[in-house]
Each structure stands twice: as C-alpha cells, then as structure tokens.
Amino acid sequence: MLNERKQRKKRVYPAAPSRIRRFIARLSERLYVVRVAVKVGLSLAVAAHLGMVIVLPGGWNGLMQFDARATLPHLTHFPVSDAFGFADGQFGKGFILYRIFTQEGTTLEGVFPDSNILPYLRFDRWAAAGDVMSRDQPELHAILLDYILAHLPSAPVKLEMYAGQWVDGRSVSTGVAEGDGSERRYRLTKLGSHDGLTRLWRPSGPKMTE
C-alpha cells in the first residue's frame, strides 16, 4: 500500500467509510448501550419477579394468610414452612387406619401409609397420598378399599376404615411442661365399613366420629 505522501502525490485519497461500515460502527457504539439496557431491564425484572414471588409464593401469601391462584404455580412455587422439610404436607396431616376382621376370627389393624415402607423419601410420598385419601372424598375411599382388598390373602368378614387427622393440641401460651392432658392431638373419623358377606361398602356420614 502506498504511504500517505505518495498517495497525495498521485492524487489518491483514502475513501470515506462506506455506508455499511458507518452503520456497523454506529451500531457497535449503540450495542454497548443496548447491552447495558438489557442488563438493567433483566435485573429489574428479576427483582420484581422475586418480590412478587415473596408476596405470593405459589399463590399463597404466607404473611397475610390468603390464597390466590397463580398463573403458573409450579414456576413460581415457593415452598413455605419447609426450609428443613417439616412442612405439614411432608408429615401428612391426615392418614388412614383400618381394622380387618378375618375369617379366622382375628382382628388385624393397618395404617395407610404403611409404616414399614423405607426409605423415608418413599414413605413421604405415601404419607402425602394418605393425607389426600383421608380427606372427605368418598369415591377415593371406595377405590382404596378395593386396593386393600386386592392385597389381602383372603376375603375378610368385615373391614372398617378410619381417617386420622393431626390437630394442634397445644397453644404456645400453655407452656412446655403444663397441660392437663385433655388436648387431643389427632382426631379419628370413621369413613365406612365393608361387609364381607354382601361385599358392599357402606360409607359413614361426615359427622360420624369415633
């Protein structure tokens, strides 16, 4: 390439940058601004999102105790009361108990979830299932009955099913070592009974409590 002096002597002048080059140069100058703007926008969006999630974690406001349906509850899911895994759902607030009167005249007692299931992670899922089953859903109780009957070696004479529900029996103000023992920490509700002869499931009313 000729140096500048020779270029001038030959009346050759460097061409001005083309439109495309000028456009690219201007764009790259603006790109920095765009990049910064995107970063600011993103960080503000994330901050706003987290703020919203804290206010409405998965549709449930832990501070003000009200429930609101979230659009995408799984993506904004914010587990409350379980930083150590002691959530009520984890333990299962409810569970199923049943009594089986066998043809041999003995009485077997069982719990759903099965207390012998290990490891604990497996038990947790069954406990969650037990919690759902213990709610007031008679259709599910009838299906569970079929499941239990299918796993018994012989048909029983009678089978009674109960729902157990944990209740908070104490208040903070009661104190640790006090208490008159009158508080109940679980409540049993009879769900129904199965007659082995007629093979009929007779659900109990919701008010039948043992």
Binding site: F84, A87, P119, L121, D124, A129, Y147
Partner: protein, 323 residues
C-alpha cells in the same frame, strides 16, 4: 460531574455489580452436580412405587386425584404413553437424562427435558407430590438457564477463539459470566426468602412447642395410643425448634455480612445434617445444603477443587480455561 450525578452513577454501578459481577461458575457447576444427584436419588426411590402411583387402576383414581391440580393444562408425558412397559421406559429415560445432567452433558438441554419430565410426574398424580419436588423444580429451572456446564463437565469445553491481546489478557482475571452471575444472585435471594418465609410460617404452636418434632412419622395404632397419653413435650424438642426458627429468621441478615457468612453456613449445614439424619429428611436437607453453595465464593471453591482433585482422581473433569 456534580454530586447528584455521581451518586446516581455510583448507585448504578453498584446495582450492575451486584447482579452481574460474580465470578462463580464453579458454584453453579457444583450445584448442578448436587441437584442432579438428589433428583437421581428421588427418581430411583420412585421406581419402587412406579406402578401403584402412576399406572391407572391402583390405589387412587387418577382422574379424581387430578381434580386438585391447579394448572389449567396439567400436561404429562405419561398420558401420551399406554401400558406399564412404556411408563417404565419413560421413567428409565428420565433417570438416564438426570445422569447426563449430573455429568454436565449439555445441561441446558438435559435440564429442560428434566423440567418437562419432572412436571409430568407431578401432573400425573398430584397426590404424591412432596415439598422436595417443588424445591427440585425451582433449582432445575435456575440451573437450566445458567451456564452450569462450563465447569466440572464430562464433555470437553469448546476452545476459546484466539483473540488479539491474548498474551496481555492471559494473566488477567477471567471475565465474569453476566448471565451466570444473574442466575446465581437470583438463587441467593430466593434462598434467603425461603428461609425467611419458613421462619415466619413456623411461628405456630405446633412448631414452637416442639410438637412437630416429636410427632411419630411412622403411625401405628400403638404409637397413636402412646401419643395420646403423653402430652408434655421434651425440653430438647422445644429448644431445637426455637433454634431452627431463629436460624431461619436471621439467615437473611447474616449471610450477607462477610464476617458471619461462613459461620452461618457452617451452622445451617450442621442443622440440615442433624435434621436429615435424625428425622429421615435426608434428600430434602441434602438439597438445601447444595443450594447453600450459592453463597460460597468461586475462588474458595476453585481452591478446594484444586486441593481435592488429586485425592478424588478427578483430572478427567474438563475445566473451561476462560470460566
């Protein structure tokens, strides 16, 4: 520049540094491995009850159980397949993808697939969802969006293109990954909020009297009779419950103070280990320990990795030199 402008400038720089100034791809990579292992364990344990929980015609009617699902379109891959054999195929595929995620094989792709599969389990039978699932999903979403595969990956990282001034830049601090930094910061804040909300939610009689710690996990008729007869709570349960609540409440403050950060992380990890081992909540607490890695600085993690590499025989793990 006048004072007001300078203040705004400082504030803006501080804001940008806070969100985009972290150098911690090692933390993201470690979290990817930890979250992947917990997910793999969860899937493995699920294998024992795959048929009762997911196949039609078992302990519960899937249609009735799904009435409580809050999503308008509760999609599930398991609805698109028919028969036990196909359910097992999808399940084994999920485990293989989780293993690939742990090994850092295209974690952004495998992570996305894991999110879809994880939601598929949740929507197929919402009755067996536990809190671990929610936390796993949150962690998966963050890690999938992040460049967590740039370190501690089984696949060799792409070589950086030769750039001018490479010699000058060789000894300089590697440039932070702005995107990775944003994700990591979001995870940190999310974790703080989780502990804080957890502390607020535990201000209940069941917690503060220690009752929740002494409830029998394995209910039997005999246990229930015993519970009915014993009302008084042991003092250790009350003290431990109060300790956990205080720890969660002040986590959000002390974790941001460098002087107290590692002390707090040590104590909180110890608490998670105790709860995990004594109460059997092993997987959940392991995941919480993994998520706490977000607060450990990268240079300390790198130092730890360099020291432990020869003992753990990990030189086959590829490290991106630019990371």
């Amino acid at each position: 520049m006048n004072d007001a402008l300078r203040r705004w400038d400082d504030w803006g720089r501080g804001w940008m540094d806070f969100w985009f100034g972290l150098h911690s791809l090692t933390a993201l990579a470690l979290m990817r491995i930890g979250v992947g292992i917990v997910l793999l364990y969860s899937l493995f344990v699920f294998s024992f009850d795959l048929t009762p929980h997911l196949a039609p015609g078992n302990w519960g009617d899937l249609a009735i159980l799904r009435r409580d699902d809050p999503l308008a379109w509760p999609f599930s891959v398991f609805d698109w397949v028919d028969g036990i054999g196909w359910i097992w195929t999808v399940h084994l595929m999920a485990m293989a993808i989780a293993a690939a995620f742990v090994m850092g094989i295209l974690p952004n792709v495998t992570g996305g697939a894991l999110i879809v599969l994880h939601l598929s389990y949740a929507h197929r039978n919402p009755a067996v969802l536990i809190t671990l699932d929610g936390l796993l999903l949150v962690a998966l979403v963050y890690l999938t969006l992040s460049p967590c595969g740039k370190k501690l990956s089984l696949l060799p990282a792409r070589r950086p293109k030769p750039r001018p001034y490479a010699v000058i830049m060789q000894d300089a601090q590697p440039p932070p990954s702005a995107w990775g930094s944003l994700i990591l910061r979001t995870m940190q804040i999310h974790l703080c909020a989780l502990y804080f909300l957890s502390a607020l939610a535990s201000l209940t009689p069941a917690w503060l009297t220690g009752e929740i710690l002494t409830r029998y996990r394995m209910q039997t008729w005999e246990n229930l009779e015993a519970i009915q007869s014993s009302i008084a709570m042991p003092v250790w349960a009350v003290a431990f419950a109060h300790g956990l609540t205080l720890l969660s409440l002040f986590y959000v403050v002390f974790v941001w103070i460098p002087r107290f950060r590692y002390l707090l992380l040590t104590v909180i990890c110890a608490a998670h280990v105790i709860v995990g081992l004594v109460w059997g909540l092993f997987a959940y607490n392991a995941l919480m320990i993994v998520l706490n890695v977000a607060f450990v600085e990268s240079r300390q993690l790198d130092w730890l990795r360099e020291k432990t590499e020869p003992f753990l025989a990990l030189p086959w793990l590829h490290v991106n030199p630019r990371g």
